[in-house]
């Protein structure tokens, strides 16, 4: 039996239906949390003095966009930490694993179900930020946002960071024995990539095209290989029986 996108789709549709009816996910994780994360960038944007030096403006934009990059880092981690251990705790993992599904299909279905709404929310929030900038920011700030490489960086790093966050969250979820522990660990696990982006935002690490491409390539590699690594950590027997022979 080969890899089946039909089975991936079955998991994806089930997950999206489940999120749609989960108030915590819809209200807190997908709505309130992103809205909280857009407040600081918007204030940064609107409070900037018109006469501010261009280097200060650039730093302000970097900080604002860093906040927006927290959305693809944090939102998926809240959900992905639940994916395996949550199913196990509610008793739904065993019926799923009894079917012919392969662990790779299960994991990719789960990952896509987190990635799709995360991208919708993250890009919607970013679009809102750009709209506010276009309408209300002073010309210097507008120029700093739209003329530089900030927009392509944001567009590229949003799915890459989300991918990292999802695979790390699922890996932790597959090895944890408690949902709360899994959620806390997966938030911490997102600190390394966010820290690098933050250091670039504050010019501690000088941002350059080479560094950005290198970081993007590293994240892309992790994302592409993530499902293989997580699949290797997905021990059907330990998850079902709670023990290993």
């Amino acid at each position: 039996m080969s890899f089946s996108w039909t089975r991936v789709k079955a998991i994806l549709v089930k997950e999206l239906n489940d999120y749609r009816r989960n108030r915590f996910v819809m209200v807190f994780t997908m709505t309130l949390l992103p809205l909280i994360l857009i407040v600081v960038p918007t204030v940064q944007l609107l409070a900037a003095p018109a006469a501010e030096a261009s280097s200060r403006l650039d730093s302000r934009v970097g900080l604002s966009l860093l906040y927006l990059l927290l959305i693809p880092a944090i939102v998926p981690s809240m959900v992905s930490a639940y994916t395996v251990i949550g199913e196990r705790e509610q008793g739904t993992l065993e019926p799923i694993l009894i079917t012919p599904i392969r662990r790779e299909e299960f994991l990719i279905g789960k990952a896509l179900a987190i990635l799709i709404p995360t991208l919708v929310v993250a890009y919607a929030i970013f679009g809102t930020f750009l709209a506010v900038a276009a309408l209300f920011a002073h010309p210097g700030m507008r120029s700093a946002i739209f003329a530089g490489s900030h927009i392509p960086v944001q567009v590229v790093f949003t799915p890459l960071l989300a991918g990292w966050s999802i695979w790390v969250g699922i890996a932790i979820s597959a090895r944890s024995s408690d949902v709360r522990v899994a959620q806390q660990l997966s938030v911490f696990a997102n600190l390394p990539p966010v820290a690098i982006v933050a250091l670039m935002g504050f010019n501690v690490i000088t941002p350059s095209t080479g560094l950005a491409v290198g970081l993007a390539a590293a994240l892309l590699t992790v994302d592409a290989l993530g499902w293989r690594a997580v699949a290797a950590m997905f021990d059907r027997e330990r998850l079902i029986a709670g023990a290993r022979s």
Partner: protein
């Protein structure tokens, strides 16, 4: 050919769901599973024919669920071999085996925010079934739940959730249906409903592997049963097991005790021995009740006794089970 083989062969002849040209649905040979030092089950061997309802009995912790999970390829055996629905048990054959079977775990494991229909649609997709709406309708009709298809599973009672889980297990028309404690935690009415569903499936020729510790359930539903207590203690039809463990006996009660029971009962045809029973009657060990019973009746009447009761002693499956488990406890104590 022993009794076990005869039963299997008969079931194979009469089954209308023989998916493998006459082979047994399950062939288990010396299967063992250990978790470190702990032995879940040891050296288990049995066969189940297509169309057979096979009961797997044992106390909590006997290894019943682990056996089901092992045969369902969720857990790898430590040693031994098995063929499940015609496919040799191995990790590589896991998806192929799981496509041919269904397991209904003890807990229904439904997505409570999703409707009954959405739950089933997800699993139909996982089995890559065609005509998904038709399959769902047939499965829900089989468990009398068609009118609740649009209800969220969270709004259903425990008994109804169990029925949804059974419908889910029927979606892929499995060659072997494993039911793991299907009535656990259900009230008598809900348990009775599940029993009726199993009877219906049995009449349709579905091969069922039923784990339970409800002995009346096994006795009522199963063609054959196995008793597991880490090792397999017995396999056979319930009446065979009774005969293997207990001597045949007649129970006699008379209005007034016999003055000299030995003079009346000793040496009667078919009677091997007798003893006074706790209820003031007599319990007779017999080689053939059909020969012994008339002889005993004639002897008692001849001795002037008024017979109140004369019948073959019936040992239940529960007696068999308790006898075996008591033996195990006794062995461990020594």
């Amino acid at each position: 050919m022993n009794g076990l083989d005869e039963t299997t062969a008969e079931l194979e002849r009469t089954s209308n769901r023989d998916h493998s040209g006459g082979q047994a649905a399950l062939v288990v040979e010396h299967l063992t599973k250990r978790f470190g030092e702990r032995v879940a089950f040891d050296d288990v061997s049995f066969q189940v024919g297509y169309g057979e309802v096979f009961g797997f009995l044992g106390p909590n912790g006997a290894g019943k669920t682990t056996t089901v999970r092992t045969l369902g390829t969720l857990i790898a055996p430590s040693s031994g071999s098995a063929t499940v629905a015609g496919v040799p048990l191995s990790a590589a054959n896991g998806p192929a085996i799981r496509a041919r079977i269904s397991i209904m775990p003890e807990s229904p494991g439904l997505y409570l925010r999703l409707t009954v229909s959405e739950n089933l649609r997800c699993f139909a997709g996982l089995y890559e079934l065609d005509d998904i709406p038709g399959r769902i309708e047939r499965a829900l009709r089989a468990v009398n739940l068609l009118e609740r298809a649009g209800d969220p599973c969270g709004s259903l009672s425990k008994g109804l959730r169990q029925r949804v889980a059974l419908a889910r297990a029927l979606l892929n028309d499995p060659a072997v249906l494993f039911l793991d404690e299907p009535t656990s935690g259900l009230d008598p009415v809900a348990a009775h409903d599940v029993h009726e569903l199993i009877v219906t499936l049995r009449e349709r020729g579905v091969t069922i592997f039923l784990t339970t510790h409800r002995l009346e359930e096994a006795e009522r539903l199963c063609h054959r049963v196995a008793i597991l207590n880490t090792t397999l203690r017995l396999v056979g039809r319930p009446d065979e097991l009774r005969e293997q463990l207990f001597n045949q006996a007649l129970e006699v009660r008379v209005r007034d005790s016999l003055e000299d029971p030995g003079a009346v009962l000793d040496g009667l045809p078919g009677v091997d021995g007798w003893k006074q029973s706790a209820r003031g009657g007599y319990e007779l060990a017999v080689s053939d009740p059909e020969i012994a019973a008339p002889a005993v009746a004639r002897a008692l009447v001849g001795a002037g006794a008024d017979i109140l009761f004369l019948a073959e002693s019936r040992h239940s499956l529960e007696d068999v089970y308790l006898q075996l488990i008591d033996e195990d406890v006794e062995v461990k104590r020594r």
